[in-house]
């Protein structure tokens, strides 16, 4: 018989259930009366970053709107694992139409609410990176430029996970997917820029753009609250690790999301009207190696032979991000 050692977690200020904090500083997730907008019993994989992110985001949004919230969902993992008829994990009004059209459906919902004189009810649309950066980009851009009163949340797990881990426009360089195999001189996804949707959103100069990860819960909830205080088009991009697609342990989801930030590969910032106003400082920066190595999608970088040259190119991307956002670090504090 094997024994599982008991772990004692230090309950730091960033933890979910910190009862040592004064009530007003605790997270919504630690509240016994949080809405559980995405309730338990759904069919997400163990350790699913998207399920975690969606629950965090929606519970915070339900709180911020006093329950007056309608959600529109793109096709994808989140839609599939939450609503296998006749079950539904949603405890709020929720609609799924198609893969590409969640932003447009949300625009229609917002317009209808305005026509009904019920603009107190707010609209949140959500989708994965495939729905957001690829197939639905035109609809999303249209929603942005019209400044429709919608918060769009992209849960970015960096590939088409629902269909079996194929490359999307958000797949990072050298990551192995089912359509970017780890073969050839530049194995994995091509080292292009990919689509940086948060910065594309900023170019629309919309009311609010923010990035976040499932690791920084206080930061994520604060950004949802801030977004719901504003009117017009808003965009939130949440890095949501996928154990299946990334080839990582299900208990490492939060740790990897934190490493994505600490390595500099995923900058966490917010922008008002297209201008960055705050960047979450990186504490204890780590080399990208530490983030890449635990992920099987990057195994070819550390195999035989190893590819330190490619790891170095990923490091350059991290360095560029850090340089790009350094001047706003802690600016909003």
């Amino acid at each position: 018989m094997t024994a599982t050692p008991i772990k004692f977690y230090q309950v730091g200020s960033r933890a979910v259930g910190n009862r040592l904090l004064p009530a007003e500083l605790r997270t919504e997730q630690s509240s016994p009366d949080r809405s559980n907008a995405l309730t338990s019993g759904h069919r997400a994989c163990q350790g699913c970053g998207e399920a975690l992110a969606a629950r965090y985001v929606l519970d915070a949004a339900v709180r911020a709107t006093s329950g007056r919230l309608i959600t529109v969902n793109a096709t994808g993992c989140l839609e599939v694992f939450s609503t296998p008829y006749p079950e539904s994990a949603w405890q709020l009004p929720w609609m799924h139409s198609l893969f590409a059209n969640a932003p447009s459906v949300a625009s229609g919902v917002a317009a209808a609410l305005a026509a009904q004189g019920r603009s107190d009810i707010r609209v949140l649309a959500q989708g994965g990176d495939g729905a957001s950066v690829d197939i639905g980009l035109a609809c999303l851009s249209g929603m942005f430029e019209r400044d429709d009163d919608v918060l769009y949340v992209c849960y970015d797990n960096e590939a088409y996970m629902n269909t079996g881990v194929q490359r999307s426009g958000a797949t990072p360089p050298f990551a192995r997917t089912a359509t970017t195999e780890a073969l050839g001189p530049e194995p994995g996804a091509s080292p292009g820029q990919g689509k940086d949707l948060a910065r594309i959103a900023m170019a629309h100069e919309i009311a609010y753009v923010a990035t976040a990860t499932v690791a920084e819960l206080h930061d994520l909830e604060r950004k949802v609250r801030r977004a719901m205080q504003l009117r017009g088009a808003r965009y939130l991009h949440v890095l949501s690790p996928c154990p299946l697609g990334w080839g990582t342990a299900s208990h490492d989801t939060v740790r990897l999301a934190r490493l994505a930030h600490r390595s500099g590969l995923f900058p966490i910032y917010e922008a008002i009207g297209g201008e960055v106003v705050d960047v979450l400082p990186i504490r204890d920066r780590v080399p990208v190696d530490e983030y890449l190595r635990p992920q099987r999608r990057y195994a070819h970088l550390f195999g035989d032979p190893p590819r330190p040259d490619l790891v170095a190119r990923v490091q350059q991307l991290a360095d560029r991000n850090v340089a790009r956002f350094a001047r706003w670090e802690g600016a909003g504090a």
Binding site: G67, R68, L69, I70, V72, N73, E79, V80, T83, P84, Y85, P86, E87, S88, W90, Q91, L92, P93, W94, M95, H96, S97, L98, A100, N101, S104, V105, A106, S107, G108, V109, A110, A111, A112, L113, A114, A115, Q116, G117, I121, A138, C139, S141, G142, E145, R146, D148
Partner: protein
């Protein structure tokens, strides 16, 4: 009151009187005048609290309509041709979700080759998207159909497509009565959605349905759609009580005794009627055999009014289906449906493909057609007014266009 006005303008005015709450709009010829008219009325404050959304594509237009309708508001948009194809995916979604959206299609050809003129290739390509399809014979009919479409859609919770021939009707100016606001209000009560997104009573709309229930969901949608067969005549009668105008799902013109029945949809019905009426009225001599021809104008194409068609064909000995589109590699689209409706009747059924991409369907060509019918000289499928010489030239030169 009849006023001289453009068809598109009249459609915009009648849609306004139907009090839509949300109108997502994207321009495409020959539909654009309709949404321009509505946009103007919204801007002028005449349609308050209606929201006019200038979206970035037809795909987005129908998607926004889906969102607005799911909140329980009356929703309208219009498109044509390539635009209808571009909204194909949300069209199926809207009917699958049972959302009572009304869409005007200003019928236009589909490319390639690109062509902005009228035929029915666009709407026919979407005949199985689960919507009710209604075809206007003239602009007065188009106007009345819009009031009926909203009433029908909301009664059965199925979206309705009103097909209006591009340019031939949309850009034609003629005397049209747009029913007064009190008439429209009497026929069209406030919308009572079957379900809607509302935080007070949360629902999940658009769940994933597997093999264990998908057939049942589809079957229930089929039953809903078929309800249009009885509900449409009811709304036609309801509006007709105010306007004195009633055009049902299938309308027969011409003598009871006619041995040839021509089935057609849309504005060409007007041309056919003119030929039939001229033929008999001018000199009382039925030299062309036109007294032996009757027209069945199909207003309703989906659901397909099989029983009404069977009854209206009656004892005719020959049926011609005049089609404004065709199924490449197969033949007549409407013909296939008519054949189904006439199962068990042993009578010749001829497909005439006519008026593709705006080619005028002339009275002369129709007279010739009916004369050949009388001589029993019609092929199973023919393309009316086909320029055989240019086809021959293209084929012998090896070029296809």
């Amino acid at each position: 009151m009849r006023e001289q006005q453009e068809g598109s303008r009249a459609v915009a005015r009648v849609v306004a009187r139907c009090r839509p709450a949300v109108v997502p709009a994207y321009p495409i010829t020959p539909q654009t005048h309709i949404v321009e008219g509505l946009g103007l009325m919204v801007r002028a404050g005449e349609l308050s609290p209606c929201r006019f959304l200038t979206v970035e594509s037809e795909f987005a237009a129908m998607s926004a309509a889906i969102g607005a309708s799911a909140v329980g508001t009356r929703t309208y948009t219009a498109t044509a041709s390539q635009g209808l194809l571009y909204m194909a995916e949300p069209l199926f979604n809207a009917s699958g979700l049972g959302l009572p959206i009304v869409l005007t299609v200003a019928n236009r050809a589909i490319g390639a080759p690109i062509n902005i003129w009228n035929d029915h290739s666009d709407a026919m390509s979407m005949r199985d998207c689960g919507w009710v399809q209604l075809y206007a014979i003239d602009n007065q009919h188009a106007v009345d159909l819009h009031v009926q479409a909203f009433a029908l859609a909301e009664r059965i919770s199925v979206p309705v497509m009103v097909c209006v021939d591009g340019f031939v009707l949309t850009h034609a100016s003629e005397p049209i009565d747009v029913p007064d606001q009190d008439v429209v209000d009497a026929v069209l009560p406030d919308i009572r959605p079957r379900q809607r997104l509302d935080p007070a009573e949360p629902v999940t709309i658009g769940a994933m349905v597997g093999p264990e229930a998908f057939t049942e969901v589809r079957y229930l949608a089929q039953l809903d759609l078929l309800r249009a067969l009885s509900e449409f005549p009811a709304v036609v009668a309801q509006l007709g009580a105010h306007t004195g105008r009633e055009v049902g799902p299938v309308t027969r013109f011409g003598p009871e005794s006619a041995r040839t029945v021509v089935i057609a949809l849309g504005s060409v019905c007007g041309t056919i009627r003119a030929v039939l009426e001229d033929g008999v009225d001018t000199d009382g001599v039925d030299g062309d055999g036109l007294g032996d021809v009757a027209l069945l104008a199909l207003t309703m194409y989906r659901p397909f009014p099989s029983a009404a068609i069977r009854a209206a064909v009656g004892d005719a000995e020959r049926v011609i289906v005049l089609e404004r589109a065709f199924a490449p590699g197969a033949g007549g689209i409407v013909t296939a449906d008519v054949r189904g409706a006439l199962t068990g009747r042993d009578l010749p059924l001829h497909t005439v493909v006519a008026g593709l991409g705006g080619r005028p369907i002339t009275e002369a060509a129709l007279r010739e057609l009916f004369a050949r019918a009388r001589r029993d000289d019609l092929p199973d499928v023919q393309f009316l007014d086909l320029d055989e010489r240019s086809v021959h030239a293209a084929r012998t030169s090896g070029a296809s266009s």
